[in-house]
Symmetry: C3
Subunit: 158 residues, 3 copies
Protein backbone atom coordinates (compact mmCIF):
# COMPACT_ATOMS: atom_id res chain seq x y z
CA UNK A 1 0.00 0.00 0.00
CA UNK A 2 1.39 3.43 -0.81
CA UNK A 3 1.81 6.19 1.79
CA UNK A 4 -1.40 7.98 0.88
CA UNK A 5 -3.49 4.82 1.12
CA UNK A 6 -1.84 3.94 4.44
CA UNK A 7 -2.65 7.35 5.92
CA UNK A 8 -6.23 7.03 4.70
CA UNK A 9 -6.54 3.56 6.24
CA UNK A 10 -5.14 4.85 9.56
CA UNK A 11 -7.69 7.68 9.61
CA UNK A 12 -10.51 5.27 8.75
CA UNK A 13 -9.49 2.95 11.59
CA UNK A 14 -9.35 5.88 14.03
CA UNK A 15 -12.92 6.77 13.06
CA UNK A 16 -13.96 3.12 13.38
CA UNK A 17 -12.73 3.13 16.97
CA UNK A 18 -14.46 6.45 17.61
CA UNK A 19 -17.76 4.91 16.50
CA UNK A 20 -17.10 1.91 18.76
CA UNK A 21 -16.77 4.20 21.79
CA UNK A 22 -19.71 6.39 20.79
CA UNK A 23 -21.92 3.40 20.07
CA UNK A 24 -21.27 2.02 23.54
CA UNK A 25 -21.73 5.27 25.43
CA UNK A 26 -24.81 6.52 23.59
CA UNK A 27 -26.27 2.99 23.67
CA UNK A 28 -26.53 2.87 19.88
CA UNK A 29 -26.39 -0.90 19.40
CA UNK A 30 -26.56 -0.68 15.61
CA UNK A 31 -23.58 1.68 15.50
CA UNK A 32 -21.65 -0.61 17.83
CA UNK A 33 -22.55 -3.68 15.77
CA UNK A 34 -21.27 -1.98 12.61
CA UNK A 35 -17.77 -1.91 14.15
CA UNK A 36 -17.14 -5.66 14.40
CA UNK A 37 -16.22 -8.34 11.89
CA UNK A 38 -18.73 -11.23 11.89
CA UNK A 39 -16.06 -13.58 13.29
CA UNK A 40 -14.54 -11.08 15.74
CA UNK A 41 -13.34 -12.08 19.19
CA UNK A 42 -13.21 -9.98 22.36
CA UNK A 43 -11.24 -10.78 25.48
CA UNK A 44 -12.27 -8.57 28.42
CA UNK A 45 -11.38 -11.16 31.06
CA UNK A 46 -10.21 -9.39 34.20
CA UNK A 47 -10.85 -5.96 32.71
CA UNK A 48 -13.46 -4.88 35.26
CA UNK A 49 -11.99 -6.40 38.41
CA UNK A 50 -10.34 -4.24 41.06
CA UNK A 51 -7.10 -6.09 41.87
CA UNK A 52 -7.14 -4.76 45.43
CA UNK A 53 -10.46 -6.35 46.35
CA UNK A 54 -11.20 -8.89 43.64
CA UNK A 55 -14.60 -7.28 43.05
CA UNK A 56 -15.75 -7.50 39.41
CA UNK A 57 -17.92 -4.54 38.39
CA UNK A 58 -19.45 -6.25 35.32
CA UNK A 59 -19.09 -10.03 35.75
CA UNK A 60 -21.69 -10.81 33.07
CA UNK A 61 -19.46 -9.56 30.25
CA UNK A 62 -15.94 -10.47 31.30
CA UNK A 63 -16.02 -14.14 32.25
CA UNK A 64 -14.79 -15.62 29.01
CA UNK A 65 -13.53 -14.71 25.55
CA UNK A 66 -16.51 -13.58 23.46
CA UNK A 67 -16.78 -15.08 19.96
CA UNK A 68 -18.54 -13.42 17.01
CA UNK A 69 -19.53 -9.83 16.41
CA UNK A 70 -23.19 -10.42 17.24
CA UNK A 71 -22.40 -12.13 20.54
CA UNK A 72 -19.89 -9.43 21.49
CA UNK A 73 -22.42 -6.66 20.90
CA UNK A 74 -25.22 -8.54 22.68
CA UNK A 75 -22.99 -9.14 25.68
CA UNK A 76 -21.68 -5.56 25.87
CA UNK A 77 -25.07 -3.95 25.44
CA UNK A 78 -26.60 -6.33 27.96
CA UNK A 79 -23.92 -5.64 30.56
CA UNK A 80 -24.05 -1.86 30.11
CA UNK A 81 -27.81 -1.40 29.57
CA UNK A 82 -28.54 0.00 33.02
CA UNK A 83 -25.18 1.71 33.44
CA UNK A 84 -24.08 5.21 32.58
CA UNK A 85 -20.77 4.79 30.75
CA UNK A 86 -18.00 6.95 29.34
CA UNK A 87 -15.17 5.38 27.31
CA UNK A 88 -12.34 7.53 25.95
CA UNK A 89 -9.43 6.42 23.80
CA UNK A 90 -6.34 8.33 22.79
CA UNK A 91 -2.83 7.98 21.38
CA UNK A 92 -3.60 5.33 18.76
CA UNK A 93 -0.69 3.36 17.34
CA UNK A 94 -2.15 1.95 14.12
CA UNK A 95 0.07 -0.25 11.98
CA UNK A 96 -1.11 -1.31 8.54
CA UNK A 97 0.13 -4.88 8.11
CA UNK A 98 -1.36 -5.80 4.73
CA UNK A 99 -3.78 -4.72 2.04
CA UNK A 100 -6.75 -5.33 4.37
CA UNK A 101 -5.23 -5.96 7.79
CA UNK A 102 -3.94 -3.77 10.59
CA UNK A 103 -3.01 -3.78 14.26
CA UNK A 104 -3.67 -1.08 16.84
CA UNK A 105 -3.00 -0.04 20.40
CA UNK A 106 -5.10 2.60 22.17
CA UNK A 107 -4.62 4.15 25.58
CA UNK A 108 -8.02 4.26 27.26
CA UNK A 109 -10.10 5.17 30.28
CA UNK A 110 -13.64 4.18 31.14
CA UNK A 111 -15.99 5.42 33.82
CA UNK A 112 -18.98 3.25 34.71
CA UNK A 113 -21.78 4.40 37.00
CA UNK A 114 -24.13 1.70 38.24
CA UNK A 115 -27.83 2.00 39.03
CA UNK A 116 -28.83 2.87 42.62
CA UNK A 117 -29.76 -0.69 43.58
CA UNK A 118 -26.35 -2.10 42.66
CA UNK A 119 -23.77 -3.12 45.26
CA UNK A 120 -21.05 -1.59 43.08
CA UNK A 121 -21.49 2.17 42.77
CA UNK A 122 -18.82 3.06 40.22
CA UNK A 123 -15.85 1.68 38.32
CA UNK A 124 -13.00 3.72 36.86
CA UNK A 125 -10.51 1.86 34.68
CA UNK A 126 -7.37 2.64 32.68
CA UNK A 127 -5.42 0.49 30.26
CA UNK A 128 -4.70 -0.23 26.60
CA UNK A 129 -6.87 -1.79 23.94
CA UNK A 130 -4.78 -4.24 21.90
CA UNK A 131 -6.62 -4.80 18.64
CA UNK A 132 -6.49 -6.08 15.11
CA UNK A 133 -8.60 -4.91 12.21
CA UNK A 134 -9.73 -6.32 8.91
CA UNK A 135 -11.16 -4.54 5.87
CA UNK A 136 -14.27 -6.26 4.63
CA UNK A 137 -15.91 -4.99 1.43
CA UNK A 138 -14.06 -1.71 1.81
CA UNK A 139 -14.94 -1.10 5.48
CA UNK A 140 -12.52 -1.54 8.37
CA UNK A 141 -13.84 -3.70 11.22
CA UNK A 142 -12.52 -4.77 14.61
CA UNK A 143 -11.32 -8.37 14.26
CA UNK A 144 -9.84 -8.95 17.73
CA UNK A 145 -9.88 -6.82 20.87
CA UNK A 146 -8.49 -7.25 24.35
CA UNK A 147 -7.95 -4.88 27.23
CA UNK A 148 -5.00 -5.32 29.57
CA UNK A 149 -5.38 -2.85 32.40
CA UNK A 150 -3.05 -0.49 34.20
CA UNK A 151 -5.51 0.22 37.00
CA UNK A 152 -9.10 -0.55 37.96
CA UNK A 153 -10.88 1.17 40.85
CA UNK A 154 -14.22 -0.28 41.94
CA UNK A 155 -16.21 1.58 44.57
CA UNK A 156 -18.98 -0.23 46.43
CA UNK A 157 -21.80 1.42 48.32
CA UNK A 158 -21.11 1.76 52.03
Amino acid sequence: MDVLQKLLAIEEIKQLKARYFRGMDTKDAALLASCFAPDASADFRGATTDPRTGINATPSSTGEVLQGGEAIVATITGALAKLQTVHHGCCPEIEITGEDTANGIWAMVDYLRMPPDSRVAEMDGWGHYIESYRRIEGKWKIQTIRLPRLRVDVRTRS
Copy 2:
Protein backbone atom coordinates in the same frame (compact mmCIF):
# COMPACT_ATOMS: atom_id res chain seq x y z
CA MET B 1 -11.73 17.01 -3.03
CA ASP B 2 -9.09 14.29 -3.54
CA VAL B 3 -7.93 11.97 -0.78
CA LEU B 4 -4.79 13.97 0.03
CA GLN B 5 -6.71 17.23 0.36
CA LYS B 6 -9.32 15.50 2.53
CA LEU B 7 -6.68 14.12 4.88
CA LEU B 8 -5.08 17.56 5.09
CA ALA B 9 -8.43 19.19 5.86
CA ILE B 10 -9.14 16.59 8.58
CA GLU B 11 -5.75 17.29 10.20
CA GLU B 12 -6.34 21.05 10.01
CA ILE B 13 -9.73 20.69 11.67
CA LYS B 14 -8.24 18.53 14.43
CA GLN B 15 -5.71 21.29 15.11
CA LEU B 16 -8.47 23.91 15.01
CA LYS B 17 -10.29 22.04 17.78
CA ALA B 18 -7.03 21.66 19.74
CA ARG B 19 -6.60 25.45 19.66
CA TYR B 20 -10.22 25.87 20.81
CA PHE B 21 -9.55 23.74 23.88
CA ARG B 22 -6.17 25.32 24.57
CA GLY B 23 -7.52 28.83 24.13
CA MET B 24 -10.23 28.17 26.72
CA ASP B 25 -8.03 26.48 29.28
CA THR B 26 -5.06 28.86 29.07
CA LYS B 27 -7.46 31.82 28.95
CA ASP B 28 -6.07 32.99 25.60
CA ALA B 29 -9.13 34.86 24.31
CA ALA B 30 -7.47 35.78 21.00
CA LEU B 31 -6.63 32.16 20.29
CA LEU B 32 -10.19 31.14 21.16
CA ALA B 33 -11.64 33.90 18.98
CA SER B 34 -9.57 32.74 16.02
CA CYS B 35 -11.46 29.43 16.08
CA PHE B 36 -14.95 30.72 15.26
CA ALA B 37 -16.64 31.87 12.09
CA PRO B 38 -18.07 35.39 12.43
CA ASP B 39 -21.61 34.02 12.17
CA ALA B 40 -21.03 30.93 14.33
CA SER B 41 -23.62 29.62 16.77
CA ALA B 42 -23.08 27.71 20.01
CA ASP B 43 -25.68 25.73 21.90
CA PHE B 44 -24.50 24.81 25.39
CA ARG B 45 -28.00 24.71 26.88
CA GLY B 46 -28.14 22.15 29.65
CA ALA B 47 -24.46 21.30 29.29
CA THR B 48 -23.45 22.34 32.80
CA THR B 49 -26.48 21.13 34.75
CA ASP B 50 -26.31 18.05 36.97
CA PRO B 51 -29.45 16.09 36.06
CA ARG B 52 -29.65 14.59 39.55
CA THR B 53 -30.00 17.95 41.32
CA GLY B 54 -30.83 20.47 38.61
CA ILE B 55 -27.91 22.65 39.73
CA ASN B 56 -26.28 24.56 36.85
CA ALA B 57 -22.54 25.15 37.39
CA THR B 58 -22.25 28.02 34.86
CA PRO B 59 -25.72 29.48 34.28
CA SER B 60 -24.35 32.67 32.71
CA SER B 61 -23.15 30.86 29.58
CA THR B 62 -25.70 28.14 28.99
CA GLY B 63 -29.10 29.80 29.10
CA GLU B 64 -29.63 30.29 25.39
CA VAL B 65 -28.10 29.60 22.00
CA LEU B 66 -25.19 32.01 21.48
CA GLN B 67 -25.05 33.80 18.13
CA GLY B 68 -21.88 35.14 16.49
CA GLY B 69 -18.23 34.32 17.10
CA GLU B 70 -17.58 37.47 19.12
CA ALA B 71 -20.55 36.89 21.42
CA ILE B 72 -19.64 33.22 21.90
CA VAL B 73 -16.09 34.08 22.92
CA ALA B 74 -17.19 36.94 25.19
CA THR B 75 -19.70 34.66 26.91
CA ILE B 76 -17.29 31.74 27.35
CA THR B 77 -14.41 33.87 28.61
CA GLY B 78 -16.74 35.75 30.95
CA ALA B 79 -18.19 32.56 32.41
CA LEU B 80 -14.81 30.89 32.85
CA ALA B 81 -12.72 33.91 33.92
CA LYS B 82 -12.53 33.01 37.60
CA LEU B 83 -12.58 29.25 37.04
CA GLN B 84 -9.76 26.79 36.58
CA THR B 85 -10.76 24.66 33.59
CA VAL B 86 -9.53 21.60 31.73
CA HIS B 87 -11.23 20.51 28.49
CA HIS B 88 -10.05 17.40 26.65
CA GLY B 89 -11.35 16.04 23.36
CA CYS B 90 -10.62 12.74 21.69
CA CYS B 91 -11.79 10.33 18.99
CA PRO B 92 -12.75 12.92 16.37
CA GLU B 93 -15.04 11.81 13.57
CA ILE B 94 -14.45 14.47 10.92
CA GLU B 95 -16.40 14.22 7.69
CA ILE B 96 -15.54 16.55 4.81
CA THR B 97 -18.86 17.39 3.20
CA GLY B 98 -17.79 19.89 0.52
CA GLU B 99 -14.92 22.01 -0.73
CA ASP B 100 -15.10 24.24 2.34
CA THR B 101 -17.50 22.49 4.71
CA ALA B 102 -17.21 19.66 7.21
CA ASN B 103 -18.96 18.03 10.15
CA GLY B 104 -17.40 16.64 13.30
CA ILE B 105 -18.10 14.71 16.48
CA TRP B 106 -15.68 14.72 19.43
CA ALA B 107 -15.84 12.74 22.65
CA MET B 108 -15.01 15.13 25.48
CA VAL B 109 -14.53 15.70 29.18
CA ASP B 110 -14.26 18.94 31.11
CA TYR B 111 -13.27 19.65 34.67
CA LEU B 112 -14.24 23.01 36.15
CA ARG B 113 -13.00 24.22 39.52
CA MET B 114 -14.80 27.23 40.94
CA PRO B 115 -13.36 30.00 43.14
CA PRO B 116 -13.54 29.55 46.93
CA ASP B 117 -16.51 31.87 47.38
CA SER B 118 -18.72 29.96 44.97
CA ARG B 119 -21.55 27.72 46.11
CA VAL B 120 -20.55 25.19 43.44
CA ALA B 121 -17.11 23.73 44.11
CA GLU B 122 -16.48 21.67 40.99
CA MET B 123 -18.13 20.33 37.87
CA ASP B 124 -17.01 17.29 35.89
CA GLY B 125 -18.77 16.67 32.59
CA TRP B 126 -18.62 14.13 29.75
CA GLY B 127 -20.31 14.15 26.37
CA HIS B 128 -19.86 14.77 22.66
CA TYR B 129 -19.32 17.97 20.75
CA ILE B 130 -21.46 17.94 17.61
CA GLU B 131 -19.99 20.51 15.25
CA SER B 132 -19.82 21.87 11.77
CA TYR B 133 -16.93 23.73 10.20
CA ARG B 134 -16.44 26.14 7.36
CA ARG B 135 -13.24 27.14 5.56
CA ILE B 136 -12.99 30.91 5.25
CA GLU B 137 -10.11 32.41 3.29
CA GLY B 138 -8.21 29.14 3.62
CA LYS B 139 -8.70 28.70 7.38
CA TRP B 140 -11.12 26.22 8.96
CA LYS B 141 -13.45 27.73 11.57
CA ILE B 142 -16.13 26.37 13.88
CA GLN B 143 -19.50 27.23 12.35
CA THR B 144 -21.86 25.48 14.78
CA ILE B 145 -21.20 23.72 18.07
CA ARG B 146 -23.41 21.95 20.58
CA LEU B 147 -22.69 19.65 23.47
CA PRO B 148 -25.11 16.85 24.35
CA ARG B 149 -23.94 15.26 27.58
CA LEU B 150 -23.54 11.72 28.80
CA ARG B 151 -23.00 12.75 32.42
CA VAL B 152 -22.56 15.90 34.48
CA ASP B 153 -21.47 15.86 38.13
CA VAL B 154 -21.78 19.10 40.08
CA ARG B 155 -20.38 19.20 43.60
CA THR B 156 -21.49 21.98 45.92
CA ARG B 157 -19.66 23.07 49.05
CA SER B 158 -21.00 21.46 52.20
Copy 3:
Protein backbone atom coordinates in the same frame (compact mmCIF):
# COMPACT_ATOMS: atom_id res chain seq x y z
CA MET C 1 8.35 18.99 2.37
CA ASP C 2 5.22 18.27 0.34
CA VAL C 3 1.77 17.80 1.87
CA LEU C 4 1.91 14.00 1.81
CA GLN C 5 5.29 13.89 3.55
CA LYS C 6 4.09 16.41 6.13
CA LEU C 7 1.00 14.35 6.94
CA LEU C 8 3.17 11.25 7.25
CA ALA C 9 5.59 13.05 9.57
CA ILE C 10 2.69 14.28 11.72
CA GLU C 11 1.33 10.74 12.04
CA GLU C 12 4.79 9.39 12.88
CA ILE C 13 5.23 12.02 15.61
CA LYS C 14 1.81 11.20 17.06
CA GLN C 15 2.84 7.54 17.29
CA LEU C 16 6.19 8.56 18.83
CA LYS C 17 4.33 10.37 21.60
CA ALA C 18 2.00 7.38 22.04
CA ARG C 19 5.04 5.15 22.61
CA TYR C 20 6.41 7.68 25.12
CA PHE C 21 3.20 7.46 27.16
CA ARG C 22 2.93 3.69 26.84
CA GLY C 23 6.60 3.16 27.71
CA MET C 24 6.15 5.14 30.92
CA ASP C 25 2.90 3.54 32.02
CA THR C 26 3.80 -0.07 31.21
CA LYS C 27 7.29 0.50 32.65
CA ASP C 28 8.95 -0.47 29.36
CA ALA C 29 12.21 1.44 29.76
CA ALA C 30 13.55 0.37 26.36
CA LEU C 31 10.43 1.66 24.62
CA LEU C 32 10.68 4.92 26.54
CA ALA C 33 14.39 5.27 25.74
CA SER C 34 13.67 4.82 22.03
CA CYS C 35 11.63 8.04 22.11
CA PHE C 36 14.40 10.50 22.98
CA ALA C 37 17.22 12.08 21.01
CA PRO C 38 20.62 11.43 22.62
CA ASP C 39 20.97 15.12 23.45
CA ALA C 40 17.34 15.69 24.50
CA SER C 41 16.40 17.93 27.41
CA ALA C 42 13.37 17.67 29.72
CA ASP C 43 12.06 20.38 31.98
CA PHE C 44 9.51 19.03 34.47
CA ARG C 45 10.30 21.64 37.13
CA GLY C 46 7.16 22.41 39.12
CA ALA C 47 5.13 19.83 37.21
CA THR C 48 4.29 17.64 40.20
CA THR C 49 3.78 20.32 42.85
CA ASP C 50 0.30 21.19 44.13
CA PRO C 51 0.24 24.99 44.09
CA ARG C 52 -2.23 25.08 46.99
CA THR C 53 0.09 23.27 49.43
CA GLY C 54 3.54 23.34 47.86
CA ILE C 55 3.78 19.56 48.20
CA ASN C 56 5.79 17.93 45.40
CA ALA C 57 4.60 14.40 44.59
CA THR C 58 7.81 13.32 42.80
CA PRO C 59 10.67 15.60 43.95
CA SER C 60 13.37 13.23 42.68
CA SER C 61 12.53 13.88 39.04
CA THR C 62 11.49 17.50 38.89
CA GLY C 63 14.19 19.49 40.64
CA GLU C 64 16.18 20.57 37.61
CA VAL C 65 16.23 20.44 33.82
CA LEU C 66 17.28 16.92 32.77
CA GLN C 67 19.95 16.70 30.08
CA GLY C 68 20.43 13.78 27.67
CA GLY C 69 18.06 11.00 26.66
CA GLU C 70 19.69 8.41 28.89
CA ALA C 71 19.55 10.64 31.96
CA ILE C 72 15.93 11.59 31.27
CA VAL C 73 14.86 7.96 31.01
CA ALA C 74 16.85 6.92 34.07
CA THR C 75 15.32 9.74 36.11
CA ILE C 76 11.75 9.10 34.96
CA THR C 77 11.92 5.33 35.43
CA GLY C 78 13.56 5.77 38.83
CA ALA C 79 10.93 8.23 40.02
CA LEU C 80 8.00 6.15 38.76
CA ALA C 81 9.32 2.65 39.56
CA LYS C 82 7.13 2.08 42.61
CA LEU C 83 4.20 4.13 41.32
CA GLN C 84 1.18 3.12 39.31
CA THR C 85 0.90 5.71 36.56
CA VAL C 86 -1.48 6.66 33.76
CA HIS C 87 -0.52 9.38 31.26
CA HIS C 88 -2.94 10.39 28.50
CA GLY C 89 -2.34 12.93 25.75
CA CYS C 90 -4.78 14.37 23.26
CA CYS C 91 -5.35 17.18 20.78
CA PRO C 92 -1.83 17.30 19.34
CA GLU C 93 -0.82 20.43 17.45
CA ILE C 94 2.17 19.22 15.41
CA GLU C 95 3.93 21.74 13.20
CA ILE C 96 6.60 20.54 10.79
CA THR C 97 9.26 23.26 10.79
CA GLY C 98 11.89 21.75 8.50
CA GLU C 99 12.99 18.61 6.72
CA ASP C 100 13.80 16.92 10.04
CA THR C 101 12.42 19.23 12.72
CA ALA C 102 9.00 19.82 14.24
CA ASN C 103 7.24 21.40 17.21
CA GLY C 104 4.29 20.05 19.14
CA ILE C 105 1.77 20.84 21.85
CA TRP C 106 -0.27 18.13 23.58
CA ALA C 107 -3.05 18.50 26.12
CA MET C 108 -2.43 15.94 28.86
CA VAL C 109 -3.49 14.39 32.13
CA ASP C 110 -1.59 12.10 34.44
CA TYR C 111 -2.72 10.07 37.42
CA LEU C 112 -0.05 8.84 39.84
CA ARG C 113 -0.77 6.40 42.66
CA MET C 114 1.95 6.05 45.26
CA PRO C 115 2.89 2.96 47.28
CA PRO C 116 1.18 2.44 50.67
CA ASP C 117 4.16 3.65 52.69
CA SER C 118 4.31 7.02 50.94
CA ARG C 119 3.14 10.24 52.57
CA VAL C 120 1.61 11.29 49.27
CA ALA C 121 -1.24 8.98 48.26
CA GLU C 122 -2.06 10.24 44.76
CA MET C 123 -1.38 13.02 42.30
CA ASP C 124 -3.66 14.07 39.44
CA GLY C 125 -2.26 16.63 37.01
CA TRP C 126 -3.40 18.45 33.86
CA GLY C 127 -1.47 20.65 31.48
CA HIS C 128 0.24 20.82 28.10
CA TYR C 129 3.42 19.22 26.87
CA ILE C 130 5.41 21.77 24.83
CA GLU C 131 7.86 19.81 22.70
CA SER C 132 10.22 19.82 19.80
CA TYR C 133 11.20 16.84 17.69
CA ARG C 134 14.09 15.90 15.47
CA ARG C 135 14.33 13.14 12.84
CA ILE C 136 17.49 11.13 13.28
CA GLU C 137 18.31 8.44 10.71
CA GLY C 138 14.69 8.43 9.59
CA LYS C 139 13.14 8.16 13.07
CA TRP C 140 11.43 11.03 14.89
CA LYS C 141 12.65 11.61 18.44
CA ILE C 142 11.73 13.98 21.25
CA GLN C 143 14.37 16.72 21.35
CA THR C 144 12.95 18.99 24.07
CA ILE C 145 9.99 18.56 26.39
CA ARG C 146 8.47 20.69 29.11
CA LEU C 147 5.17 20.55 30.94
CA PRO C 148 3.46 23.75 32.05
CA ARG C 149 0.47 22.82 34.18
CA LEU C 150 -3.12 23.97 34.37
CA ARG C 151 -3.79 22.14 37.65
CA VAL C 152 -2.08 19.72 40.00
CA ASP C 153 -3.90 17.98 42.85
CA VAL C 154 -1.76 16.14 45.43
CA ARG C 155 -3.54 14.09 48.09
CA THR C 156 -1.62 13.09 51.18
CA ARG C 157 -2.60 10.27 53.53
CA SER C 158 -4.55 11.43 56.55
